[in-house]
Structures are given as structure tokens and as C-alpha cells.
Amino acid sequence: MNTIKKRSNIILILTIAFFAGLLYHTVNIFINAEDWVINLRNLHLTAAGNLDYAGTIYDRNGEVLAYSSGGERFYNDDESIRKACLHVVGDDSTVNLYNSIQNIYRSELIGYHFLFSFGMPKNLRKGNDITLTIDAELQKAAYEALGDRKGAVFFYNYKTGEVVCMVSTPAYDPENIPENMKNNEEYDGVYINRVCSGLYSPGSTFKLVTAAAGLENIKDVEEVVYHCKGEDKIGGEDITCEFAMGDVDITGAIVYSCNCYFGHLASELGRFAMTRQAEKMGFNKNITFDGFESAKSIYDVFDINENEFAWSGVGQANVLETPLNVAMISAAIANGGTPVMPYIVSGIGGKDYEPRQTFGDNMMSPQTADKIAGMMDSAVYLNYGKGRFSDTLDVCAKTGTAEVADAEPHAWITGFCKNEECPLAFSVVIENGGSGYGEAIPVAAAVLNTAERLAISN
């Protein structure tokens, strides 16, 4: 019997392991439960009605964007602001607005606590308030400037990282949800936050990447002068410009947006150098800020022919980019080569965050950044017209008109304000909106003017 007693230690060891495993799981719950429950697979989290007792969402000026009262969720009083903020704030009746504060910060809003989790009766719950860096008026200005066109507008402070404007259209009113959104052309892709998840052909805005690659890799690239005849042959096929530009150097090619020049430059640099530079500048990787997840901008040129590769150097062919990525490139140029990461949540539960100012990966050397900034300055001065923007802001910009098959081109603009009082970097895209020069500039200008009027950076 003594032997058996001794040998029964084997089941004792087993049982100790069993209890240790249970303890491990319990500790795991203590530590990780909150990460686990905010997963969007969690139907408890995303169930409609869960925000009925949730906290309030404010913009940077204390304007209420969303709040709960008497077991119901309400949004801003102004219909345009409600629509303009739809993709940032979200809609409690759906989980389809993936990249939105009410989805990402749902557990904070409803006052999640691991001890009672979702088991806490609703009337005992106490939700946390969230303050955002966006400006409701600016959102409204951007939304109205876009009108009924589909597109995206993204403005953020390239010094601090505060996102002041993030608008995606089409949008709908969360307090008055239209019934026939499915199969309705007007609401095509309404749940997509186009700033983060919209992948567009970047067109000429991509020339900033090719220019950076050239400046970083070819020593005398600035000395090279190319004679543009409006068309040329690369890889046996055509590459064309809008018009014959004559002799252009790299600055001229940015200012007048010469495709032939950048097609040749890309060919010269080769696929490896171009891919390396594109990946430095945010392509082929995910960008995430405050839980907002962007799609991967795509630069994959190894399977295309020489002519298509030349076209990829001007942002055509198979290149795709998110408006967020485009804006971050401008922010890097404005900021000496390294972009500041955007952030949108400035406080949760009454606690205000310190300004975060975290930097992303370096995109180019400070010299290159300065040179490209100069080129973008010239583009506004010599081509787009200084008068189209507010004088005091010193806007530097690059437009784009991205050709797409069988439709109007996407209209693009990206840039930044040199003025230290209003350090904003931005991107605007209008889906099948026409030319960047004609259509995108007014939208950017409208938002910039409002920003200046509101003295937003202060």
C-alpha cells in the first residue's frame, strides 16, 4: 500500500499541471481579455444596441459627434456633420463600418471591465467618453466640397500627427439610414472608409516617389535635361504626355507632370531600385494608427513588361495606393523625409493623451525631401496658380489625373502647407472625378480655407 501511495504521485503531478493550466488561463484572461473581446468576430461586442448606454464622442472643440441617452444612440445635430463623420465615428446599427471609432473603441465606449465583461446589466454600466482630433466643421467643409462625388479627403498635422479631417464618400445619415443601399449605384462601397481602404491608381502623385528614387539613387539626376515631344517609345511601345513640354529637368517634369521624363527615369532606375523606394514610402505594407487599419498600397512591377514598368513610374499600370499613404508621403516631404504617424484619439474616459508625435519609417533623406518640397512649391507657383489657394498658407502640392479603363480618370491632389501656423499635409481623391488640376484642387482649397479660418492648428 505504501508503494501505491508513493506512485500515485504521478496523478498528483498530472493534477497540479491541470490546476496550473487553469491558473494560466485565468491570468491570461486578466491580461488579455480586453484584447480578445474587441475582436470584431465577437458578436457581443458588435451586437446592435450595445452602444445604448455608451460614452460620448467629441471632436477637438468639444462638439458632440455621438452620444447615448435613455437607451438610444444619437449623433450630431447637423445632418452634414453626421454624414461627414460617418466613417470616423461609425454607426451603432452595423458592424460593416470596420474602420470606425465606434467599432474599434467599442469596449472603451461601453465601459468594458473584465470582471463582469458584457454580463454587467446595461443600467449599471458606465461608458467612457472619447475625444477625437478631428474638427467637425472641417469634416463638413470637406464633405460639402466633395458633394455627391465619391472620394476621400484626409488632412493631418505633419508636425504632431493629429488627424483633423478624414472624410469618405458616399456616406449616409446614421440617424436616418436609407433603405435601399444594396445594389444602389449611389451607395456603392458606402461602408468603406476610402481614406484607409480605398486603393486607387495614384497617377501623377506617384511621381513624387519616382523623383525621390531618382534623387536618392542617381547622383547627377538634376543635371539631366530631357526633350519632351509629347510622346516617346519605351520597351517598343508608347508613353505619352498631355502635350509636348520641350526641355524639362526633374523640377520641370514635376511642375508640368511630364510622363515621358518619369517613364525614362523609372526605366533607368530599374525595378529593384523603384521597388525599394516605393516600399520605403509605404507600399506593400499595412499602415495602422489608433486601430484604423489601412489596405496595403501595391507596387509590384516584376511581372509586367518594360513599357508597363515605365508607366508604373508615373503611377499608372498596376500601381495602387491609399489616400492615407499619399498624404503620409507629403507629410514626409514636409517634415524632412520622415512622416509623423497620424493619430485620431486624443483622450479616453476623461483622460487626455499627451500629444503623441510618433514617427513612421524614414522615406527619404532630408536633402531629397527639401528638393521635392521645392518642386511642389514650384508646381503651385508655375502651374496650378498660387491664387487658387490661400496666400498665407504657402501650399506645396502635386496633382494627379489617374487614367482608369473605360471611365473618367481619378482626380488627385496631395501636398502640405509650408506655413508653420497651419502645418497640414493632405490628400484628396475624387473617384472618376476628372482632372486633378480641375477638380481636386478646389476641394483641397476649400478645406484649407476653412482650416485657416478656424485656425485649426492652435
Partner: protein, 555 residues
């Protein structure tokens, strides 16, 4: 609406505490009622003038220091010489192939030899005289000193099950929720009555533990499908029957020895029936249909297997029995592999390891078997790719959240969503994941009744091992000790595979959680296994005699 929500909230917090109190009382009470550590008999060595205390009902006598009665300094005594044991109030001695033999009053002992007080037992050159052999009364702490009476425990359990059913009713809102629970409670009282008055069992704590767990299983099955609750109740009632029959059957330890071979055939036959007539369900072909009832014969084979694992003291050292066990185990494992029931194969293998160690006491043997198993596992992973997939997911469930890790990720999310006090029985989301009623019941209960609650319940399963261990030296024969250790080890091992597999800490094997998962056969098997633990408690076989002095029982 708000009032109802508050009531449900209060119930969710109160129920686990009731479970904790009930289970706590059971374990404390089982511990308190044990026999005191007093010698059952004395062996007096005249030449050395030394008295040996006989502490157990079955004692190994020999020179080996692990013997129960160690005879030192006599080289004529074998390392394991003889067994002194008690059967039906009589003491016997039996020779276990000693070199010098055993003599009682000068007569050579061939088979079990009955002893009287004063008999002289010669082992080699040592002569021992049996004295003061206990035949009279052994003190056992009476019921009322064991904190609570059985009736009180059953009432508490019934109350607990009703509270759980009310909680489920709040969320499911169908009055049918109560029917299986009430049926179960009725069966529980009937079982208690039979146990006290017909079987004359002196205590009911172990049964209470099993009833509380089974009752939880019944209510939670009902919240899935009402009919399942009834099936689960039927499984539990049949289980109680199996439990009582096994206890009755192994009352005479020698009887079960002869049944080892029958049980070996039964275990192999049951698994073979699954292999030959099995129908596939959820990836493993381990179900057979008999007259409209689905059974998992491999579950019942576990009960038969415990018989084979439990040796007897005089045989414990013989390699032949290890070889026999090995052959039976390999046959079962091969057949389970053939029907892809890898989880069940693991349970048998784990039990086999426990038995191997308890028979041989050698870590070397355990290591060798483990190494063979690792090699076999490698072969399995190559031959059955879906098992390889489980290994791939192991430790990275979040990366495979949409495919192979789908169940585990949902188990983690839902489990965490329930917090410590749950969302209410029937109010969870994990139940919508296929076969969560059996394979993910830990996390389902964690989500719906709360982590605190489910931890209390599974701790009771772990507690069975602690209880079984404390019984090992108190049982009437090594057979019971071995059986209890193997059975409780099996239950805990299976619970561990279920829980940690479902949480992605180890590869998922699709096993049931003892007593709690939906599955009638599993329920029956768990009750069957519990019988071995109950039998190890010497008190089980004391008849309650109304005329015996209060607090004392006759043996």
C-alpha cells in the same frame, strides 16, 4: 425588463457560490470522515522483540524498504515476501513466490491461508505472531459530525440546479427549460433514497459532486435543445445504475481479478464495434446506432479498461501483466487511430502511462513508452493531415482565426466576453459554433455562467484525484487503489485535453468534458469511472446498521 436583468445578474453571481459551498462541504466532509490512523493488527517478533504495526487492509511484507511491513536484517526474507490481507473480516496471508516460503504454525502456505490471533507466521528465519487483529468496531466519524447530512447536500444541489434553470429560463423564455432539470432532480432524490435505504451506503458526498456536475450538464444541454436535456438526464440515470452495479460487482476484490480477461475482451470488443459499425460524425467514425440510439462504445470501453489497469498487490511486480496491459492498449489504440478518434486514443494512452508507472514505479518505463508515442505521433501526423493542421494552429490560433483556429479563437473571445460571472445560461454566442455543446463546453460555460463558476466545477474534477489519493492507503485492497487512481487520473487527463485544447493551449482533440459536455455515453462512462473512486473508500462497503451505536459502524 431591467428588473429581470438585475435578477439574472444576481443569480449569476449567487449560483457559483452555492456550487462552491456545496462542493466544498462534500470535499471537507469526505476528508473528515476518514478512519483514524490506528493499527488494524500487530505482528510480534519474539526473537527480535519487535512489534510491527499492521496499518492497512492489504500489506506487503518483505525486506524492501517500500514494503508496508519492512523486515530488516534478515537476509532469508525476500525483498517482496508475502501479503497479509483482510477479506470479509478474516485475515489471510499469501506467499508471493518468496525463496524461503511462508509457514503458518509450521504448515507451508500454498494458497491464501486464513489466520487467527496467536498464529505464528514464519518468513525465512523470522517468526511473527499475529495479535490484536481487528474484528470488532472501527471508529468512523458519524454523519452529523461531518458538517452536513446527505439530505442537506442533495437539497442544496437541487436548489443549485433550479437556480441554473431559472437563469436559463430568463434568456431562453421557454418553460420547457425546466422539464429535464426537474426530471433530473427527481431522479437525484430517487438515487439518494436507493443509496441510503437499499444499497445502505453510509455517505453521499461523492455522488453529490457528480450529481451537481451532471445537473449543470443537463441544464446546459437543455439550453441547446430541450430534447438533449432529456437525453442527458437518461444518460445520467443509466450512469447512476452502472455506478451502483460496478460498486456491487467489485465489492469482492478477488472476483474482479478473474474478470480481468473478460474486461479486456469487452474493452477491445467495444472499440472494435466502433471500428466495424461506426458512423462518421465530426471527423471521427466513433458512433454506432442501436435501435435509434447513438452510442460511443469507446467511451464505455474506458470503464472496462480501468479493470485491466488495476492489478492486485501480489501481482503488481510481475512483468507478464504489464505485457498483457501493453497488448490490450496497443490493440485499442490502433483501432481508435483507424477510426480517427485521436482524442480518445490520447485518453487511453494517458491512462496507460499512469497504470504503467503505478505498476512498475519506473520513470524509465514511462519515458520509453513516451518516446515510442512521439514516434507514433509523427507517423499519425504524416498519415492524417487534418491532425497535422491542428498542430499547425497550436500556439497561433489567432493567425488561423478563419480556418483551423476558428473554434479556439471563438472560444477565447466568447470566454473572455463572459467575464467572471457570465452572460447567463443560454445567452452566449459560442453555442452557435458547431459541436460546441460537447467539444467547447468549457468555454461555453465560461461565457454563459462565468469563469469563476466553471473553474469551481472543473476544480471538483481535479479534487477527485486528491480524494482518490487520500484513499489509496485506506482502501481494502490495492485493486481499489489502482482503479481509483487510474480512473481519477483518466478524468482529469480528459478534462485537461478538453479545456486546454479548446483554448488553443494544446492541439484540439475533440473530447468531452466529464459530466458537463453533452453526450449520453460520455455521461454513463463518467459515472462508471466514479464507481472505482467510490469503491476505494473503505466506508463504501460498511453497511449502515440502525442498531449500531451512533457513530460507529461494524465491519
Amino acid at each position: 425588463m431591467e428588473t429581470v436583468e438585475m435578477i439574472a445578474f444576481a443569480l449569476r453571481i449567487a449560483t457559483p457560490f452555492l456550487a462552491l459551498i456545496t462542493l466544498g462541504i462534500c470535499f471537507i466532509s469526505m476528508n473528515r470522515g476518514k478512519r483514524e490512523n490506528k493499527a488494524l493488527a500487530l505482528l510480534y517478533d519474539e526473537t527480535a522483540d519487535k512489534t510491527y504495526k499492521v496499518m492497512f487492509w492489504e500489506n506487503l511484507i518483505g525486506r524492501n524498504e517500500n514494503s508496508d511491513i519492512v523486515i530488516e536484517d534478515d537476509m532469508t526474507v525476500s525483498r517482496a515476501h508475502a501479503v497479509l490481507f483482510n477479506r470479509d473480516k478474516e485475515w489471510y496471508i499469501s506467499d508471493i513466490d518468496s525463496k524461503a516460503g511462508v509457514f503458518v504454525n509450521g504448515q507451508k502456505v500454498i494458497k491464501n491461508c486464513p489466520l487467527q490471533n496467536g498464529d505464528k507466521i514464519s518468513l525465512g528465519s523470522s517468526v511473527l505472531t499475529l495479535k490484536d487483529a481487528a474484528k470488532g468496531r472501527i471508529r468512523i466519524a458519524p454523519y452529523d459530525k461531518r458538517t452536513f447530512s446527505g439530505t442537506m447536500l442533495v437539497i442544496m444541489t437541487a436548489f443549485y440546479i433550479l437556480m441554473l434553470a431559472v437563469e436559463a429560463f430568463i434568456y431562453i423564455k421557454e418553460v420547457e427549460i425546466f422539464f429535464p432539470a426537474v426530471t433530473f432532480i427527481a431522479a437525484m432524490f430517487a438515487f439518494y433514497w436507493v443509496s441510503c435505504n437499499i444499497l445502505k451506503r453510509p455517505d453521499f458526498e461523492l455522488e453529490t459532486i457528480a450529481l451537481l456536475l451532471s445537473g449543470t450538464g443537463v441544464v446546459i444541454s437543455t439550453t441547446f435543445v430541450t430534447e438533449w436535456g432529456f437525453k442527458q438526464t437518461v444518460g445520467a440515470v443509466i450512469g447512476m445504475g452502472i455506478y451502483s452495479v460496478i460498486i456491487w460487482f467489485i465489492k469482492v476484490p478477488d472476483r474482479s481479478k478473474y474478470f480481468r480477461y473478460i474486461m479486456a475482451v469487452a474493452a477491445i470488443g467495444l472499440v472494435a464495434s466502433a471500428m466495424l459499425f461506426g458512423q462518421e460524425k465530426n471527423g471521427a467514425a466513433n458512433w454506432i446506432n442501436i435501435g435509434g440510439m447513438s452510442l460511443q462504445p469507446a467511451e464505455l470501453a474506458k470503464v472496462a479498461y480501468i479493470f485491466i489497469c488495476a492489478g492486485t498487490l501480489d501481482r503488481i511486480r510481475k512483468t507478464r501483466y504489464v505485457v498483457e496491459l501493453f497488448i490490450v492498449t496497443m490493440a485499442i489504440l490502433y483501432m481508435l487511430y483507424d477510426i480517427s478518434d485521436i482524442g480518445m486514443a490520447l485518453v487511453f494512452f494517458g491512462t496507460f502511462l499512469i497504470a504503467i508507472y503505478m505498476w512498475s514505479g519506473s520513470w524509465k518505463a514511462v519515458t520509453v513508452v513516451m518516446l515510442i508515442a512521439v514516434a507514433a505521433a509523427a507517423v499519425i501526423v504524416i498519415m492524417k493531415p487534418y491532425i497535422a493542421a491542428r498542430f499547425k494552429v497550436w500556439g497561433n490560433v489567432w493567425e488561423y482565426a478563419s480556418d483551423e483556429g476558428y473554434q479556439q479563437v471563438n472560444a477565447l473571445i466568447c470566454g473572455a466576453s463572459g467575464g467572471f460571472f457570465g452572460l447567463g445560461a443560454g445567452n452566449g454566442n459560442l453555442r452557435y459554433i458547431p459541436i460546441s455543446e460537447s467539444d467547447l463546453i468549457f468555454s461555453t460555460l465560461s461565457e454563459e455562467t462565468g469563469l469563476f463558476h466553471i473553474l469551481i466545477l472543473v476544480s471538483a474534477i481535479g479534487g477527485l484525484v486528491i480524494y482518490a489519493r487520500s484513499m489509496t492507503v485506506k482502501s481494502r485492497s490495492v485493486f481499489y487503489s489502482m482503479a481509483a487512481c487510474s480512473a481519477s487520473g483518466l478524468l482529469v487527463f480528459q478534462a485537461a485535453l478538453h479545456i486546454f485544447g479548446g483554448l488553443g493551449m494544446i492541439p484540439m482533440t475533440g473530447l468531452t468534458l466529464p459530466f458537463l459536455s453533452y453526450g449520453g455515453t460520455s455521461m454513463m462512462a463518467c459515472w462508471g469511472l466514479l464507481a472505482f473512486i467510490k469503491s476505494a473508500d473503505e466506508r463504501t462497503f460498511y453497511r449502515m446498521k440502525p442498531k449500531a451505536k451512533r457513530g460507529e459502524v461494524l465491519i
